[in-house]
Structure formats: C-alpha cells, structure tokens
C-alpha cells in the first residue's frame, strides 16, 4: 500500500492529527496563528469526517473550562490557542493539571504583548512551564501531526492523566507548507485506544470533583501531580517506540541530537530553528568544525539526564532560545544550566536570545554562535546572555 502524502501547513497537519485521534469534543477560540487548525476541524465536522462536538466558545478561558467539563465526564477533548489566548487560559491550565484532566492542546507559539506582535517566539508557553502541563515542542509539520496522536496517548495514560501542550512555532511552522505523510486511521486506532478513566463523573458511581483541600493534604496532591509528570517520561518514550514501529517515524523521546557525539561546541535548541541549525552543522562540519546540536523536545518533564550525558564532552555550550525572563536569562537556559550544574559541568554556557517577535534566525547568525562558542572554549571572555543581532547600539 502506497503511503498517503499531502502538501499542507503545520496548522493543517495538527487538524489532521487531531481528527485521526477521534476527539469527542473540540472547544476553541480563534487566535492568529492557530486559526487554520480550528477552521479545518470545523470543516471536518461539517463534512462528517470527524464525529465530534465543536463548541464555539466565547473566549479561551471558556475553551479550557469547557474542555475540562467534557473531560470530567470521560470525553476525549482538544483545544488550541496561542499567545494572549494561552495567557487568558492560565487559570484553567493550572486547574486542568491539578484536576488531572488529560486535555490535549495545540499552542501556536507567538510573542506576547506589549508590544503587540502576531509573530512567533516561545515566551507564551515557556512562561507557563509551572502550570503542570506536559510540554513538547515540534520541529516540522510531520512531527506536529504525529505528536497530536501521541499526545492523547501520553496524556490519557492512567499513570499520567495530565494535560499536554503540543507547541509549534507560529507562522514558521503553522503557515509553512510541507509534504506530510498522513497515517492510516486503522493504524492510529490501534496505536491510540479509546479514552478510559476512573477519574470521571458518572451515574453508576457519582463523584464530587474539583474539590478543595486543607494544608494537611494539599502537599500530597501536589506530590502526586509531580509524580504524574515524571511518570510521563516512560510513557512518552514507549509511545515514541511504539509509534516508530507502527508508522516508521521515531523522534527519540525527550531529546533529539545531531552530530553531538564528538562535538567540541554544542547548541541546544527548541522547536523549528533546529532544522536551520542542522544545516549549519553540516556546512561547518564540511569545513572541519566539530559542532553539533541537541534539540530539546520536552520542556516538561525535563530531559535532565539526557542533557547531562549528551553534553559531557563539549567544551562550550550555547542555549539558543526565543525567550527571555527579564532581569535574568532565558528560561530554557536556566533549566539546562540547572541540569548540568548537578553533574558539575562547568564549561562555559552561553544563552543566545533571539527570534523574538518573529525575527528570523539566519544561518549566518547560527554560524556566528558556533564560532563564538569556539572562541569562548579557547578562553575568550564572555557574557552569559547574548541578545544577538540587536539593531541598536549598546554600551555593553
């Protein structure tokens, strides 16, 4: 049987991945650059390809609230958002993870106002790392489609029961067209069985949910919630392995890497920029530079051990991210640095901050990062945080 391929955008790939996952309820509010996903889903419902209830909610807050309500009676639920909308959901994000409602969300990574910008960076979702959601970041449209299917399986696993956010870079992925292989429905059904949970309201065994706790038991709930996200490590790795067996595509679980084994300097990346970095690695390798890249896929749970071992031989490490925690450093950097500090990795670690509000990160930018890392590895003085490509003069 020949494989079915389509030329589609990242948003459309998400919609197809969601459709193949057979959700019962979709509740979403439109926001650029997520809109194509929810438009396609509504068309699928209209055509009868997708047997789901599509809820036209009046806000993102209601989108996550309705999704939780549907999840609370045992329905498989999907929502999608971006940027301001994601932030408007914030109360519900914490609520969903605390309530252990395995809602799956697509987030189109977009800058956060002010200033207003519809273009991409990762400050929206990274500012919500503590909301208790599993967070994965994809590199291309194929991975976006595949991760929607995996996300339902991971989130709904009885050892996990935690909502999951699939992040894809706004415009760079959401609106870029690529050839994407479309999985067979029968294979998806075999990979992703129907949602079953004891954690629901039903008439045979009525439940009171979303309850309050007192100081003498709240910590125990939070301990279990933390355990659930840690449990996701094994579950997501198994999902990755099983997915590879079924569909022939493997994403290597928590992190992926390229040419890292003997690399003297490494860039750590998140999301779509990884593809450009791979190209630069190829070019620089051809010139004899020992450079490599580590792609973080999951920010929660965090690939601590993988990063510790993959970076063990590098002489300098750069974290490239579309994020800044004002007054300190990028959040990805903080997480990476914490992991490496635990094993006493004291090589220079730089934080390249850029791509904010949709600015392109070019191959030349990335080459400069590698070259700088080489100079720093050789002893050149450095500042940790580097806002590369600033269009203004600084006094630094």
């Amino acid at each position: 049987m020949s494989k079915k391929r389509e030329f589609i955008s990242g948003d459309e790939a998400v919609a197809i991945g969601v459709k193949l996952s057979r959700p019962h309820v979709i509740a979403a509010y439109p926001i650029t650059p997520q809109t194509i996903t929810v438009e396609r889903l509504s068309e699928m419902v209209e055509r009868g390809e997708l047997n789901a209830e599509y809820m036209h909610v009046e806000s993102e807050h209601s989108a996550i609230s309705a999704a939780m309500g549907a999840s609370a009676v045992g329905a498989r639920t999907f929502t999608a958002s971006s940027s301001q909308g994601l932030l408007y959901m914030t109360e519900g994000l914490h609520y969903a993870s605390g309530g252990r409602f395995p809602v799956v969300m697509m987030n189109a990574n977009r800058s956060v106002a002010l200033p207003w910008s519809i273009y991409g960076d990762q400050r929206d979702s990274l500012s919500l790392l503590d909301s208790g959601w599993i967070q994965v970041y994809v590199e291309d449209a194929q991975e976006a489609l595949d991760m929607m299917i995996q996300a339902f399986r991971i989130a709904e696993h009885p050892d996990v029961l935690t909502p999951m956010m699939v992040n894809l870079d706004g415009f760079i992925l959401t609106h870029t067209y690529e050839i994407v292989e479309i999985p067979e429905q029968s294979q998806v059904d075999a990979f992703l069985p129907p949602f079953q949970t004891p954690n629901k309201m039903c008439f045979n065994n009525p439940k009171n949910m979303g309850f309050s706790s007192q100081p003498n038991d709240n910590t125990e709930f939070k301990y279990q919630q933390n355990l659930a996200v840690l449990n996701a490590v094994k579950v997501l790795e198994q999902a990755d392995t099983d997915f590879a067996t079924m569909f022939g595509r493997k994403y290597n679980g928590m992190v992926d890497e390229y040419q890292s084994a003997d690399a003297e300097v490494l860039l750590v990346t998140l999301g779509s920029v990884t593809g450009t970095v791979r190209d630069v690695v190829d070019e620089m390798r051809a010139e004899g530079h020992k450079v490599g890249v580590i792609k973080i896929r999951y920010m929660r749970p965090f690939p601590e051990e993988q990063l510790q071992s993959l970076t063990a031989k590098a002489k300098a490490i750069g974290v490239l991210e579309k994020d800044i925690s004002f007054g300190y450093e990028g959040t990805v950097y903080t997480n990476v640095n914490s992991a490496l500090a635990k094993v006493g990795n004291t090589v220079p670690k730089l934080n390249f901050v850029g791509g904010l509000g949709g600015r392109d990160i070019s191959k030349a930018d990335i080459r400069n990062m590698f070259l700088k890392l080489q100079r720093v590895a050789a002893g050149e003085a450095y500042k940790t945080v580097d806002f590369f490509n600033l269009n203004v003069e600084t006094n630094e």
């Binding site: 806000s59 989108a63 309500g69 009171n208």
Partner: protein, 304 residues
C-alpha cells in the same frame, strides 16, 4: 409549555426525602444552600451539578468530606457556565442519555465574573439549567459589593460612612440581560416563595437548551439578620417590591406575582444590619427606584 403540563407537580407533600446536598458546613440559615437543596430534589439523581469557587464550593467539597450525593464539581470562578456546557456537550458526545446539567452560582459569579461565559453558554444553546442564587454581595470572601448589591447596602467594600453611604449603584438588571439573549426560558424566584421556585425549576428542567433562574436567597451572615428569619426575609423582599417574581418565555416577559399593594420597604430594610444606616431620604430614593421599575414592568410585561 405543553410537556410541563404532563408532569406531576412537585409540592411539599410529594417532594422526595432523598437529600443530594447534605452534611455541608454552610452557615445556619443559608439561603443559597436551600436554593441548591430544593433544586437538586426537583432535578433528581441523574444530574451533573457545577459550582464556581464561592460559598457552595467552599462548604460542600472539603476533601475528603464530599457533601453531594449526585455528580458535582467545582469550576473556576468565571467558568461555571462554560464547564457546565462542556459537561453537557461531553455527555451528549458520549451518548449518555436522560440527564440534566445544572450550574449554581452566586450573584458575583453570575452577574460579574461569570457573565461572559454565561452569555456564551446561552448563545450556543447548550442544554444547561443555570441557577443564580442572589444574596447581593460576595459572601464567601466576606461580604464585598457585587454587581447585584442594591443601592445603599453596607458591605465590607462599601462602608456606610459620611462620604460613602453604602453601595452607590443599583442592582444590574440581570434578568433582562439574560432574557435579551432570547433564551428559551428565564425566571426570577425567591426562597421565600418555595413553591413558586420549585415550579420554575421543574419547568426549566424540561427545556432542551439553556434555561436560567435568578433566585433571591438570603444570607444571615452578610445581611445581619437572625438565622431563623431567612425564608421570611426573602419573602418580604418580594412583598415590598424590592425583588420581583417573573418569567421570560417565548419572547414574552410575564410577572408571576403582581402585588396590589407593597409591604413597607422601611420595615424590610430596618430588619437588616446592612441597611441600618439608611436615612429617610435614602429609603425614599429606594422606594422611588422600586416604583419606577414596577411602573415599567407593569406597562411593558404581561401580568394579571
């Protein structure tokens, strides 16, 4: 409504002895919990009930002591209508049949922070009965002014001092805000007229789609009234004309109680600590506002 005619009317004589909201820690004389208890008796055990953060959530769901024998859930404060929508839609998508979804929220949870989600729920036509128990302030957080706090009320954020004489604003016109959505059924009620309330809950439960009841529910703690007078004071509010009993159905408003003569507003107000400071001029102003509202309702709406 024709389907309602075939139902057996629920009265004090035949109402179920089964309790769905039991063992909670609401204050003595709580009007809101009475509104919830009576409604759940009417709706029965195949009911999903949703409550935002607020008094009923605070008194009914203290782990591990759950006070509801039916399915019930606390929602976010602004999200009771949207979560109830999700419950109703999710259960429908799963093929579950013969059930009702009800949302209960206070005046702040409905007329202020929850209004947007409620508007969306009605707009979508989701099959949810929404009951607002109105005790005229944010009671759970300690008696702060809400959008349904009436003029002159002393609350902990509208002190009755020389400069600010209690709440400076009138109650939002919640009933007509909801009716303006062309909702299939909306009503006002009072726990002081329990049979009328039960009838309206029974009628609203038959609606396939959104329905809304605004029930006046006293709060002895917030109002400064004796706990044993909760039902009485909620009746007096109707009798003096400061609250009204009405329905909106098929596009028409109808007064379901149209007193020939109002009881004394001053008597009603002076029984409550929250109104003790009001001057004669304040009371005259409250009466004038009442008369204006009733003149309009009687002119515009159906009544006997």
């Amino acid at each position: 409504m024709s389907s309602a005619n075939t139902l057996t009317r629920i009265t004090p004589k035949n109402i179920t002895d089964q309790e769905f909201f039991y063992g909670h820690k609401a204050c003595a004389g709580c009007g809101g919990s009475l509104a919830v208890r009576l409604a759940l008796k009417v709706l029965g055990e195949r009911t999903y009930a949703a409550f935002p953060a607020g008094c009923m959530a605070a008194v009914g769901f203290i782990y591990p002591q759950m006070a509801f024998t039916n399915n019930a859930i606390i929602t976010t404060f602004p999200g009771v209508a949207s979560m109830a929508s999700g419950i109703a839609v999710g259960a429908k998508a799963l093929g579950i049949q013969n059930f009702k979804t009800v949302a209960f929220a206070g005046d702040g949870g409905t007329a202020d922070i929850g209004l947007q989600a409620l508007s969306g729920m009605i707009d979508r036509g989701d099959d949810v009965l929404y009951i607002c128990y109105d005790n005229e302030a944010y009671m759970n957080t300690g008696i702060q002014k809400s959008g349904l706090t009436p003029f002159g009320t002393q609350t902990t954020t509208t002190p009755a001092g020389k400069n600010i004489h209690g709440s400076k604003t009138q109650k939002k016109n919640l009933f007509e805000i909801i009716a303006a959505h062309d909702i299939p059924y909306a009503a006002t009620a009072s726990i002081g007229y329990p049979q009328d309330y039960i009838d309206k809950v029974q009628k609203a439960a038959q609606v396939k789609g959104p329905a809304f009841i605004h029930v006046y529910a006293s709060c002895p703690t917030g109002w400064g009234t004796p706990t044993e007078t909760s039902v009485e004071i909620a009746k007096e509010a109707v009798d003096c004309g400061l609250f009204f009993l009405a329905e909106y159905e098929n596009g028409d408003y109808r007064l379901t109680r149209n007193p020939k003569q109002f009881a004394s507003v001053a008597d009603y107000l002076k029984k409550q600590g929250r109104f003790k400071h009001l001057s004669d001029a304040d009371i005259a102003s409250i009466e004038a506002h009442r008369d204006h509202k009733w003149e309009r309702m009687r002119r515009m709406w159906n009544h006997q």
